[in-house]
C-alpha cells in the first residue's frame, strides 16, 4: 500500500472542494483533493446551472440572498471563463400571489440585489418566448455558470501553485490517533487498489455525503437530503434566466446553459445522498409550470431528465428539527470538529449553493488554517484565475463552437455533430488521460460528447472507434465501452419517452441494435476499468 503525506487532504471534488484546494494553495498550504469518481459527479454536476443573483432567496432567506449577490460578483470576476452573463428575469403572472412582488422587492433592497423593473413589452422584446400575461417583471444580475469549467479552472490554478488532485479515489476510512484525525485510507474505485494519505488536517467537503464521511471518524453530522429533478430542453428557448416571481415552489426556473435550456426543479425529501430518481409527476409538474411563463415549451423537445441531491444542514442548536426541503435555510455550515466534538484534524463544510462555493471554501479553509496555526489570509477574491487557453478569455457563449468551426479553428472530421466535437479534439482529450483508464463518459464530461439531441445515437459509435484506435483496445473492450455509454445515455432519456425523444430513441435503437447488433457483440472478459463508473450523471443534460 503506497503512502503519501500532505498538509491538508480535501475530500470531495465538487465546487466546494475544488475552491478549497485553490484557496489553500494560495495560502501556501500543500493540499491534495480526492474524489471517489470524477470531478462534478456529485451535486455540482447535477445542479441547475444558475449563478444566483440572490433574487431566489430575497423572499425568505436574506442571509443566503446576500451571500449570493456578493459571490455572484466575485465569481464573475475570478472565473469569467465559466460564466455566461445571461442576466435574469423574475416574472409574475396572474397565477401568482399579487402581493408577493412588493415583498420580494423589499427583500432585494435589503440584500443589495439590484432589481430593475421592466414593462411586459420590454421583457417580451428581450425574450419573445415569454407569456403575454405578465403582471410584473424585474431584471436581476443572474448568470449561468458551467460548474465543470469552473471546477477544472480551480484545480488547474491550484496545481500551478503546488496543489494536487486525484480522481476515482474514495475515502473508505479516516485514520484516527487518539482524538485527532491524521489522514485517510483511499480505495481506487476503478482498480480497487488501496493507499494511505497522511494529513495534518482533513477537510470534508463531500456535500450530501458529509454525514457519511464524518461517520468514518465516528462523528455525527446530520445532513438532510433534498432531491430535485431537472429537464434539459433541446434548444435554448430563452437566453435570459427566467424565474417565477412567487414564493419558491416546484418548477420555478428556466436556465439557458450551453446549448440547452434547463427547467427545474423539485424538492423531495429523500433518505440517500445518491437517490437520483426522476418521478413521472416531477416531469409533468416541471413542464406544466414552465409552460405558464413560456407557453408552448411543454410541447418542445425534452432531451434528458436527471436529479441531484441538495445537502441541507441545520445546526442542531437552531431547533428547526421539523424544517424540510425549501424551508431549510440554503446557507452553509462550517463545522470545526475540534471545537464541536473535541476531535482535531477534521473540518466539515456542507450545505450552501454552488454560487457560494468560494465563500464556503474561504470559511472552511480559515478553520483548517486555524487548526494548523497558519495565519495567511484568504485571497481567492483578489484576482482572476489564469484563463484556460481554450476559452481565450471570453465569457461563455452559446456560439463559441460554431464560431470556431466556421472560422476553421476546429479542423478535422466532425464526430459529435450535435455538440460540434472533432476528431482531433477527441484524440487530444483521450491523450490527456495519459495511461489512465478513460471511459466514453469521461470524454462526455470533458467535451459534451453525446449530450445533444441524438444522445450519442450517431457519435457514440464513432467515438468508440476512435477510442479503440488510440488505445489499441481489443474489440470486446471497445464493445463494452460503447455499450456502457449507450446505456448511460438511455438512462437519462427514459423519463421522457414520448414525442420527439421517443422517435429519436427508436432511431438510435435501430442504429445500435438492428444495424450494429450491439447487444449481440461479444464483450465478455472485459475489465471493469473501461466501463463508465457507476452512479454518474450528466452535468446539465
Amino acid at each position: 500500500m503506497t503512502t503519501t503525506s500532505v498538509d491538508v487532504l480535501i475530500i470531495g471534488g465538487g465546487a466546494t472542494g475544488a475552491a478549497a484546494l485553490y484557496d489553500l494553495a494560495r495560502r501556501g498550504v500543500r493540499a491534495l483533493l480526492v474524489d471517489q469518481l470524477d470531478f462534478t459527479t456529485g451535486t455540482s454536476g447535477r445542479y441547475h446551472g444558475l449563478l444566483h443573483s440572490g433574487g431566489r432567496y430575497a423572499g425568505r432567506d436574506l442571509e443566503t440572498a446576500r451571500e449570493c449577490i456578493v459571490e455572484n460578483r466575485v465569481l464573475r470576476r475570478i472565473v469569467p471563463f465559466a460564466v455566461e452573463d445571461t442576466g435574469g428575469l423574475f416574472v409574475a403572472t396572474p397565477a401568482d400571489p399579487a402581493d408577493f412582488p412588493a415583498r420580494w422587492l423589499d427583500g432585494c433592497a435589503k440584500a443589495g440585489i439590484p432589481a430593475e423593473p421592466l414593462s411586459a413589452a420590454q421583457a417580451r422584446a428581450a425574450e419573445p418566448a415569454l407569456t403575454h400575461d405578465i403582471t410584473a417583471v424585474y431584471r436581476v444580475p443572474d448568470g449561468s455558470v458551467d460548474s465543470f469549467d469552473m471546477i477544472h479552472g480551480f484545480v488547474a490554478a491550484a496545481r500551478d501553485l503546488g496543489g494536487d488532485a486525484w480522481i476515482y479515489q474514495q475515502v473508505t476510512a479516516l485514520l484516527r490517533e487518539g482524538d485527532a484525525v491524521v489522514g485517510a485510507t483511499l480505495r481506487d474505485t476503478r482498480s480497487g487498489e488501496a493507499r494511505t494519505v497522511h494529513a495534518a488536517c482533513v477537510l470534508n467537503a463531500t456535500g450530501p455525503w458529509a454525514g457519511a464521511v464524518a461517520q468514518l471518524a465516528g462523528l455525527n453530522v446530520s445532513v438532510k437530503f433534498d432531491r430535485g429533478a431537472m429537464i434539459a430542453m433541446n434548444t435554448r428557448w430563452v437566453n435570459t434566466i427566467v424565474n417565477r416571481l412567487r414564493p419558491a415552489a416546484d418548477g420555478d426556473i428556466l436556465v439557458p446553459v450551453g446549448t440547452v435550456c434547463v427547467l427545474g426543479t423539485t424538492s423531495v425529501h429523500t433518505s440517500a445522498p445518491d437517490d437520483y430518481r426522476v418521478e413521472a409527476w416531477e416531469v409533468s409538474k416541471i413542464l406544466a409550470e414552465a409552460d405558464v411563463v413560456v407557453p408552448g415549451i411543454r410541447n418542445g423537445r425534452a432531451l434528458r431528465a436527471w436529479a441531484g441531491v441538495r445537502p441541507l444542514y441545520e445546526p442542531p442548536q437552531a431547533g428547526h428539527d421539523e424544517a424540510q426541503g425549501r424551508e431549510v435555510a440554503r446557507t452553509f455550515s462550517v463545522l470545526d470538529h475540534a471545537v464541536l466534538d473535541g476531535v482535531r484534524g477534521l473540518v466539515t463544510v456542507t450545505g450552501g449553493k454552488l454560487t457560494t462555493c468560494r465563500l464556503m471554501a474561504e470559511k472552511a479553509a480559515d478553520a483548517v488554517c486555524a487548526q494548523l496555526g497558519i495565519s495567511a489570509p484568504c485571497s481567492t477574491a483578489d484576482e482572476a484565475l489564469p484563463i484556460p487557453a481554450a476559452t481565450a478569455g471570453r465569457y461563455h457563449r452559446l456560439d463559441h463552437r460554431l464560431h470556431k468551426l466556421e472560422h476553421g479553428e476546429m479542423p478535422g472530421d466532425l464526430i459529435c455533430e450535435c455538440e460540434m466535437i472533432t476528431r482531433p479534439q477527441l484524440e487530444a482529450a483521450i491523450a490527456a488521460y495519459g495511461g489512465q483508464p478513460v471511459a466514453l463518459d469521461d470524454l462526455r464530461r470533458d467535451l459534451r460528447l453525446g449530450m445533444g439531441p441524438c444522445q450519442a445515437g450517431f457519435c457514440g459509435v464513432r467515438a468508440a472507434g476512435i477510442l479503440q484506435a488510440v488505445r489499441g483496445q481489443a474489440s470486446a473492450e471497445a464493445t463494452a465501452a460503447l455499450g456502457a455509454f449507450v446505456d448511460e445515455r438511455f438512462r437519462g432519456v427514459r423519463p421522457l419517452l414520448w414525442g420527439h425523444q421517443l422517435r429519436q430513441l427508436y432511431l438510435d435503437e435501430l442504429i445500435y441494435r438492428r444495424t450494429l447488433g450491439l447487444d449481440r457483440l461479444p464483450d465478455e472478459g472485459v475489465s471493469q476499468a473501461t466501463t463508465a463508473a457507476p452512479g454518474e450523471e450528466a452535468a446539465h443534460g
Binding site: 419573445p128 418566448a129 403575454h132 433541446n234 434548444t235 435554448r236 428557448w237 437566453n239 446549448t259 407557453p295 408552448g296 415549451i297 410541447n299 418542445g300 423537445r301 457563449r397 452559446l398 456560439d399 463552437r401 460554431l402 464560431h403 466556421e406 472560422h407 466532425l414 455533430e417 450535435c418 460540434m420 445533444g452 439531441p453 441524438c454 445515437g457 450517431f458 420527439h500 422517435r503 429519436q504 432511431l507
Partner: protein
C-alpha cells in the same frame, strides 16, 4: 399571427427541435456533394441553429454556400424547415458582415429590369459581350458564364396598358370569373411574351384578367440576406393584392419562384404572418397549378390542337417547394400528341441569383450537370421549365431552347401574340418534330 396561441414552437427556428439527425436532407442536398465548402443542410441548419444566439452577430460562414433551393425542407420527414432556417441565418450573416455591392446588385433585379429597358440594344450588347462580362466578373464577381437574359426593350406592363386601351375588356365580370395575374420582374422586362401568352390563355378560358400594381416578389433580396428590402417588396405586393384575396379572386403567376415566395417564404422566412399576408398566400397559385385546378373542376377548355413532340421537363426546386406535385405535367398531358417526361434531377444549380456569383458558378454548373446529361442523351433541343432563371441556366448548360409550359398551352389553344415566335408548330402530324424544334 399576433394571436396569442401561437408560440415559438410554431416558428421556423424552432422547427430545428424536430431534427433526428437522420441525414436524409444532407443526402438530398444538391450542393453538399459537389463542394467541400458546404457541410450540408443538417450541419448548417438544425445543428448550427442550436448554437446561434438571437440578436447577436452571426458566427456563420459556410451557410453562404446554401443555394436556398429548398430540397432539404421538402425531404425532411420530420418537418424541419431547413432551407428557411438557413435563409434566416444568412440574413443575420448579412447584417453582421454587411452586403457586398454584388449581392446588392443581384437583389435589385427589378430595378435593373426597368432601367435597362429604354437602352435595350446597348444593354443587350453589354450582357452579350464576352470581354465586358469578364471585366464585370473581375471587378464585380458576377460570373461571366452566368446566363443573363436580354432586355425586351418594352415592358409587359406597358404593353398591357396599351392593350386594354386598344381593346377594352368589359368590366362586368363577377368575382368568380376574375383572376389576378402576378407577372414578376422577369416577365415584365425580359420575357413579356410569357405574360402576354398567360393573359391570352386566361382570357381563352373565359376569365377576366386583372393586373394590379406589383413589384419584385422579394426573393432575390431575401436569398441574399437583405430581409429589409425583401419585406418592403413583400409588403407592397401584399397591400396591392389583399383586396383581391379578400374577394376570393385567385392570384396566379407564371414564375414558380415568385409564387413560392408569396405562398410560403413571406411567412416562414420573412416572418410576415399577419392576416393580410396569410390571406394573400392562401389565394395565390402557380399558373399551371391553377390550370390543373380548373381542369379538375371541369372548367378548363379541352380544345387543344395536337402537338407532336416528346419533351423533357424540369420541375424547378422552387416549384417542388409548393408541395403540389407536377401540375405542368398534368396539364401538358391533356394536349394530344405531346409527351413530356420529367428529368431526374433535383436542381439546375442556378437557384435564383446563386449561380451568377463568380465563386459559385462552378458549383452551380456541377449541380446542373445531371440535367445537361439527360437532355443531351435524349437529343432534345427544347426543354420545358416553369421558372425563368432555371430556363436560362438550362439553356446555358445544354444549348437547348427552353420554354415555359404556358407557351405550349397557348400553342395548343392556337393562341399567339405579337413579337413572338412559337417554339414548335401545332396541328397535324405532318409538322411533327419528335425530339424538339
Amino acid at each position: 399571427m399576433t394571436d396569442h396561441s401561437t408560440t415559438l414552437i410554431d416558428l421556423t427556428p424552432f422547427t430545428a427541435d424536430h431534427c433526428l439527425k437522420c441525414n436524409i436532407c444532407t443526402s438530398a442536398c444538391p450542393v453538399a456533394p459537389v463542394t467541400p465548402l458546404f457541410p450540408g443542410p443538417k450541419t448548417v441548419g438544425p445543428q448550427a441553429q442550436r448554437l446561434r444566439l438571437p440578436g447577436e452577430p452571426s458566427p456563420d460562414h459556410s451557410i453562404d454556400y446554401c443555394s436556398g433551393c429548398g430540397i432539404c425542407t421538402q425531404v425532411c420527414p420530420h418537418g424541419v424547415r431547413v432551407m428557411e432556417i438557413n435563409t434566416q441565418a444568412k440574413a443575420v450573416m448579412t447584417q453582421t458582415h454587411g452586403m457586398s455591392p454584388r449581392n446588392w446588385f443581384l437583389s435589385r433585379n427589378e430595378l435593373w429590369g426597368r432601367l435597362g429597358t429604354p437602352f435595350a440594344p446597348l444593354a443587350n450588347f453589354g450582357v452579350g459581350n464576352r470581354w465586358l462580362r469578364l471585366i464585370v466578373e473581375k471587378t464585380f464577381k458576377v460570373s461571366a458564364r452566368g446566363p443573363l437574359p436580354g432586355w425586351a426593350g418594352y415592358t409587359f406592363r406597358g404593353w398591357w396598358k396599351r392593350e386594354i386601351k386598344r381593346r377594352p375588356r368589359p368590366q362586368s365580370a363577377p368575382d368568380a370569373q376574375r383572376v389576378v395575374y402576378f407577372h414578376g420582374c422577369s416577365t415584365n422586362t425580359y420575357e413579356p411574351h410569357i405574360g402576354k401568352l398567360a393573359v391570352a390563355v386566361l382570357e381563352h378560358i373565359g376569365l377576366h384578367v386583372e393586373i394590379p400594381p406589383q413589384t419584385c416578389c422579394g426573393l432575390p433580396a431575401q436569398s441574399n440576406g437583405d430581409f429589409k428590402a425583401a419585406r418592403r417588396y413583400a409588403r407592397t405586393n401584399i397591400e396591392s393584392l389583399v383586396e383581391y384575396a379578400r374577394r376570393g379572386i385567385p392570384i396566379v403567376g407564371t414564375s414558380a419562384s415568385c409564387i413560392t415566395a408569396i405562398k410560403g417564404d413571406y411567412q416562414h422566412v420573412l416572418g410576415l404572418d399577419d392576416e393580410d399576408a396569410l390571406l394573400v398566400a392562401a389565394n395565390t397559385y402557380d399558373f399551371m397549378e391553377f390550370l390543373a385546378r380548373l381542369d379538375h373542376e371541369g372548367r378548363l377548355p379541352r380544345d387543344f390542337q395536337p402537338i407532336e413532340a416528346e419533351l423533357p421537363y424540369h420541375a424547378p426546386c422552387q416549384l417542388k417547394a409548393h408541395g403540389m406535385g407536377r401540375p405542368a405535367l398534368d396539364v401538358l398531358d391533356l394536349i394530344p400528341g405531346l409527351r413530356c417526361w420529367e428529368i431526374d434531377a433535383d436542381c439546375c444549380g442556378i437557384a435564383g441569383t446563386y449561380g451568377y456569383k463568380a465563386e459559385k458558378r462552378e458549383i452551380a454548373e456541377a449541380v446542373g450537370r445531371p440535367i445537361a446529361e439527360q437532355v443531351s442523351a435524349a437529343g432534345a433541343r427544347l426543354v420545358v421549365c416553369d421558372t425563368e432563371t432555371c430556363r436560362w441556366q438550362i439553356t446555358s448548360l445544354t444549348g437547348a431552347k427552353t420554354v415555359h409550359p404556358v407557351e405550349l398551352v397557348a400553342l395548343a389553344y392556337g393562341l399567339t401574340v405579337d413579337r413572338y415566335t412559337p417554339p414548335l408548330r401545332a396541328g397535324t402530324a405532318a409538322h411533327a418534330a419528335v425530339g424538339g424544334l
